[in-house]
Symmetry: C2
């Protein structure tokens, strides 16, 4: 690298570090708002958040950064593999930011703010027509965003790219269609089998005890509480604020499942954030690879580990000790069957591991068609219900249990849904590879040793950050192309046995 | 105002609002670091804090802001009183920021970081010589800061101005000398009187109960918990993060005093922050007037209210109920005398209401002379001890109880100390004026009604923000020029009666 280029690259990295710090500030402000901020704080918090977003946008679109990026791209060959990845990643974000006009960004923010408020009331009142004009406006704006960023094949591509960098709509559509065709008959078959008893998982679980038990599990997973926290929030989330500071949030109801599997899920995200490479921190390839890969980590711990017989062979005795009244007389096998109850239901967030994916695929198909204009907002309730009938054999009794249940569209998260299903698919592929690499993995988990698996994930997934796009990361980690094979095998084996399919 | 000027003024206010939001972000990040951040978070927090400070500096010194300020100053007469105050305040901060070179700012930050670490060890080891070179460096840098900002009379002026805008060293020196000459003989006289019993205030106070009782008092003062929080931190502080979000922190030991009077003190700061004008928020005159005025609010509640007979007439029965074992058999009068124990001691932060001021004056005299070069860092331990002997009739047995006790100089807070004493003086003047305006004030407080006083402070002090410099605010609020008369009368009356002087 010649001196001029080296200087460019240093400046580029200094700007990237500043951007990363500002993103950390945004993350901290967001975490605080959900967990600590007093009620009236919103008066000052809204402008603060807008100002930080504005500064971030200004820095991301700075002409001097554009110059550095162009110069570095011209001599990409000189930068080495890692340097090229750094430039690729920041160039992608820079161009996205630069191509979307400020007025459009502000219009999305304003519509989000109005639409989420109206959505909340509309859902409570089961009143779709009141929400429809705002959803129409949001879809129109999101289509404008897609047009501003530009695309070759599908206007949904640039929206998807925000959450799953580099992914293409047609590939995702093919994958999800494959999963749908696989799952619909399985869900139907399971529906014809007798259901396991699961009432002992409901009600009567003391919240402080849930918190204590959850913290024990999180610790066993290797989540470092000296580099993180666990707090309460209305909607659980994980925020990797910056190096040495990863924060999980959770809510507890009086049932067993919300807390425990919520803890495992968030700690799965948390392990990923905690184990991003220290050296890559504050660089463009420092953050997690994609939302799909992020979700693969949470779902791997929540489901592939956390709803397995082996995991509970190690942990059920302790659960019985903590909750003797509810679980003292339940057998491990009944507990295992209860936690793996599969049953079509209306609400995505309460869905089991199998049907969950159909909820996602339904939303993906609809939002892709909304953006392309193949369907209109007016048609939505009907379309939702007819798809729901096809996927689950049921029709939602009202819009609150149907098309109005999620905040995502009101909040402008279009392109986000498919990453939930990709996460489940990736999780199965990672877990299958871990089992090949660690033949005694099941036995270890059955003894309560989760750290070998954790270390495998750190080595194969976490520490790479955004060095590779998700398909390449998956190839590196598993030695195979991304595919739905492991997901199908996992579902077939586990639920085949459980439901004698 | 002509159209061009109006546009300038709008742009100016928009920039000021952005600066205010960034200051809020800095405040939130700082609060989080002291209360919530996990231990290892410092790895990412240090660069985040530096980046935010850098962005703030960049925005504060932006050439476009300089243009607006100059244009507005040229046509100051057109802006009205409030507009002129807005320009005056931001111009002051802008010029301070612009005149101090970036290298000097970074050198202060680096020296602060080194010096505070070395100071901590040096204090533990009672080892002044190890700390001296870093203190010398800090004093040299602070003098450079003063030279860069510029001054007419005294190089200490621009340092003082950071904390007490507009104050002049010679005026502060005259005021503090006056207080010193008044207090030294009083402290000596009290030293010759028998001391009240106060052992029942020490030890045996349960921390959760202290927290409960403290929250009751804070609520009675009118601190709004829907617009604020109370958390634990190693060193209590109050942070007015932004509108609707004021956060108090406290620590509890196992004694009565640290918690209760700490709560009253911080809630005094908190009431000020909560009651700054909503309309002036995010403008240059939105924040609190000065550190001296801020401290007047905390000390007014801690001492003039919180160590008065009337306050405890209302609240002692409840204190006895909460802490029956320690206070059940103590009389109100003995309790009152114990909380007002005056006794020369070595440590400033543990000093009583009377001797506290002498601790401050000693530090002010020393730091002013360090900056002017009249005394050197080498001479400090000896100078400290000889002044201490003159003020208190005692000599500290070692440097940990002497010159090394405070973090301020290591942290670069030169010019800060006098605001503690100014706060006590202002507090007395405000309280005397409140009593003139509300003849039944004592009786109200004796009944537990603190809200009339709170409302008076909101109306006369809090809501004005930085509209006036502190002397003018005091004149507006009290109808009199700033003076030490009320302070002297308060001390003479209260402690004259307590100690039969």
């Amino acid at each position: 690298m010649n001196e001029a280029l080296a200087t460019r690259y240093r400046n580029f990295l200094a700007r990237a570090a500043e951007l990363s710090d500002l993103e950390s500030a945004v993350a901290l402000v967001g975490w605080d708002q959900e967990t600590m901020m007093p009620e009236k704080g919103i008066l000052g918090r809204a402008p603060l958040a807008a100002t930080l977003a504005g500064v971030l946008h200004e820095k991301m679109t700075a002409p001097a950064l554009a110059d550095d990026i162009e110069a570095l791209e011209r001599e990409k060959g000189e930068l080495g593999e890692q340097g090229a990845a750094q430039v690729r990643e920041l160039a992608r974000l820079h161009r996205r930011a630069k191509n979307v006009p400020g007025d459009l960004v502000r219009a999305v923010a304003e519509t989000t703010s109005k639409a989420t408020a109206v959505w909340q009331r509309a859902r409570a009142d089961k009143d779709y027509p009141t929400f429809a004009p705002l959803l129409e406006e949001m879809i129109r704006l999101k289509r404008s965003v897609a047009d501003a960023i530009g695309f070759k094949d599908d206007p949904y591509d640039p929206l998807l790219d925000e959450y799953e960098p580099g992914a293409k709509t047609k590939d995702v559509a093919r994958t999800l269609e494959d999963v749908r065709e696989f799952l619909v008959p399985i869900v139907k078959a399971i529906g014809e089998r007798p259901k396991p008893k699961s009432d002992f998982l409901e009600k009567g679980y003391d919240k402080p005890l849930q918190d204590q038990f959850g913290r024990e599990l999180i610790k066993a997973m290797g989540f470092d509480m000296e580099a993180g926290r666990l707090d309460l929030s209305a909607h659980p989330f994980t925020s990797g604020i910056h190096r040495g500071d990863t924060r999980l949030t959770i809510r507890y109801h009086d049932d067993f499942s919300t807390g425990v599997w919520g803890n495992l899920h968030e700690a799965g995200h948390g392990l990923y954030e905690q184990n991003l490479s220290g050296e890559l921190r504050r660089t463009p390839i420092g953050p997690a690879c994609s939302l799909g890969v992020h979700e693969s980590q949470s779902r791997l711990w929540e489901n592939l580990v956390g709803r397995s017989r082996n995991f509970w062979k190690a942990n059920f005795p302790r659960a019985q000790q903590v909750f003797p009244e509810r679980l003292g007389k339940v057998s491990l096998e009944d507990f295992y069957r209860a936690m793996n109850l599969v049953e079509p239901s209306f609400i995505r967030t309460e869905a089991d591991e199998v049907t969950y994916n159909l909820h996602i695929i339904l939303r993906f198909e609809i939002e892709r068609d909304l953006i392309s204009g193949r369907v209109t907002v007016k048609d939505l309730p009907e379309l939702w219900n007819s798809k729901f009938k096809t996927f689950f054999g049921l029709v939602p009794p009202d819009v609150a249990l149907g098309v109005l249940q999620d905040i995502h569209w009101a909040a402008g998260y279009v392109g986000y849904f498919p990453t939930y299903c990709l996460g489940n698919i990736y999780a199965s592929q990672f877990y299958a590879a871990a089992k090949r690499d660690i033949p005694e993995l099941d036995a270890q988990i059955g003894r309560g040793d989760l750290l070998t698996l954790r270390d495998w994930l750190v080595e194969k997934v976490h520490r790479w950050g955004r060095t590779y796009p998700s398909p390449e990361l998956i190839r590196h980690a598993t030695g195979r192309d991304p595919s739905t094979d492991d997901f199908k095998a996992y579902i077939r084996t586990k639920f085949g046995e459980l439901y004698s399919l």
